[in-house]
Amino acid sequence: MDKLLSLTFIGLSRGAVYSAFALALVLIWRAARIVNFAQGAMAVATAYAAYSVTKATDSYWLGFVAALVGGLVLGALVERGVMRFVDHSAPLNNVIVALGVVLVITAIVGMIYGNQFLPFEGPFDQRPLMVGGTGLLSPYDLFVLGTVLLIVVLLALLFTRTPVGLRMRASAFAPEVSRLLGVNVAGMLTLGWALAAAVGAVGGMLVIPTELGLHPHAMDLVFVSAFTAAVVGGLDSPVGAVIGGIFVGLVLTYSTGYIASDITPVAILVLLLVVLLVRPGGLFSTTAARHV
């Protein structure tokens, strides 16, 4: 029972990161109908930026800010400089170009920082707090949950309560009509990528300290997990992405806890396969409303 409880808490914290990362995927999907396969690599790049800033200033938080700003800039750059020029008529084109972006980013960070694991610490203790003899959440887990919750709330407010959020939603749903109503649709698309990459950057900042360290491929498995989470959630639904992230976090944690500790990569892929086979449209998809 104690084990179940403690695994559940670990799963929640892990799932929260997947939620954030899945949310970033959903943002771009909604804005551009593209699954951003470069998101893991982009988050790695911003984490390296954070690493350099933290090393130079000795401040985790300045590094965090650097990742956030770096995410905004990188997202805008990838959209303006690359994705905008892709012929969107065949969906595969986007995928191939995104994979190209992955190769470029991985090569560049590898050249600058090398391919070994670099130490990447979080700002809080990762040892679980003991409650009645059971290890529950660590201070770091609380930080992760709090940050993800904050992101979700801020995004919800941005999209539902602000003029720019209204513009972004309108541009995604009806680009031509939005232009006729004076909305800078191309600008909204860039903003969508920037926001998504910033959210992804935060996701990377949160998850890398819980893994072996910073490495050009540090986000590969996280990306697959988040992609699975986003698909579970229907790709179109921010709420679905959050729930999907928690779901994937729990499933992976239970399987490592109860089956084998090194099963994670296999479990992720099996889960992704099952989800794609059983529910290719996702569990929370709202595409029905779109085709009215």
Partner: protein, 238 residues
């Protein structure tokens, strides 16, 4: 009477063969100009070219003294040109209120944008009641009111309307036509009204243009079109 909208020898299309060929129309300020013609005549293509969604391969469009070839689509509304597209263009995923607010987001004068919004709600009672319903929950008539109201929030000088009567009951169509007449008389609004519903359109129009196969074949006063049986038979089939 000067023309607020001048279409001079415009040729435009989607691929190799042009749809519009050498189209010239002059729309005097403060009038309603009906553009009539069979399916596929090029009426929608004409409006899309006017609002810059399609680029003309020849000719020019002058709006309020400005050559529209130099204006971006998203800036037209700022100049005072509003286009309500065919099929109405309600953003079905957004609520009624969000659709209406979207129409005024570009405006610097926030106070007047809010006032315009309130006026639209007063003008279209049903929208007031359905304020927070999603666009896809509205009836056809309500969607038309929403699309029209959203354009009015911008307080345009010229309104391009693409088949506003499509799928509407005769009574609702008559209400919309009456509203256009009222806006013209009270605010000096200019309307380019594309319609299949010839009788309704001619009932409010000042000018009438008939298009066929991408060309303007008749351009005269609406009165003339209403009265001249031969003309009507030949081009409008009734």
């Amino acid at each position: 009477m000067s023309a607020i909208l001048e279409i001079n020898g415009v040729t435009a299309g989607y691929g190799a063969a042009p749809v519009l060929q050498d189209v010239s129309i002059s729309v005097p300020t403060g009038t309603i100009c009906a553009v009539l013609g069979a399916n596929g005549a090029g009426k929608t293509t004409l409006l899309r070219t006017l609002s810059g969604l399609l680029k003309p391969t020849a000719g020019q469009v002058v709006f309020d003294g400005q050559d529209l070839r130099e204006v971006k689509v998203e800036h037209l509304i700022r100049l005072g040109l509003a286009h309500v597209p065919e099929g109405r263009g309600v953003v079905t995923e957004l609520t009624v209120d969000e659709n209406l607010r979207l129409g005024g987001l570009w405006r610097k004068d926030r106070a007047d944008a809010r006032r315009a919004l309130d006026e639209v709600y007063q003008l279209f009672e049903p929208l007031q009641r359905r304020r927070s319903s999603a666009g896809h929950q509205l009836s056809g008539g309500e969607r038309q009111m929403l699309a029209l109201g959203r354009a009015l929030v911008a307080r345009p000088k010229v309104l391009l309307l693409d088949e506003p009567s499509l799928g509407l009951a005769p009574r609702v169509t008559a209400q919309i036509m009456a509203l256009l007449r009222q806006l013209r008389d009270d605010t000096g609004l200019t309307v380019l009204l594309v319609e299949q519903n010839v009788r309704s359109a001619l009932s409010v129009a000042d000018e009438g243009v008939v298009m066929s196969l991408g060309r303007v074949v008749v351009s005269t006063s609406a009165e003339q079109l209403r009265g001249d049986d031969e003309l009507r038979h030949a081009y409008l089939g009734f």
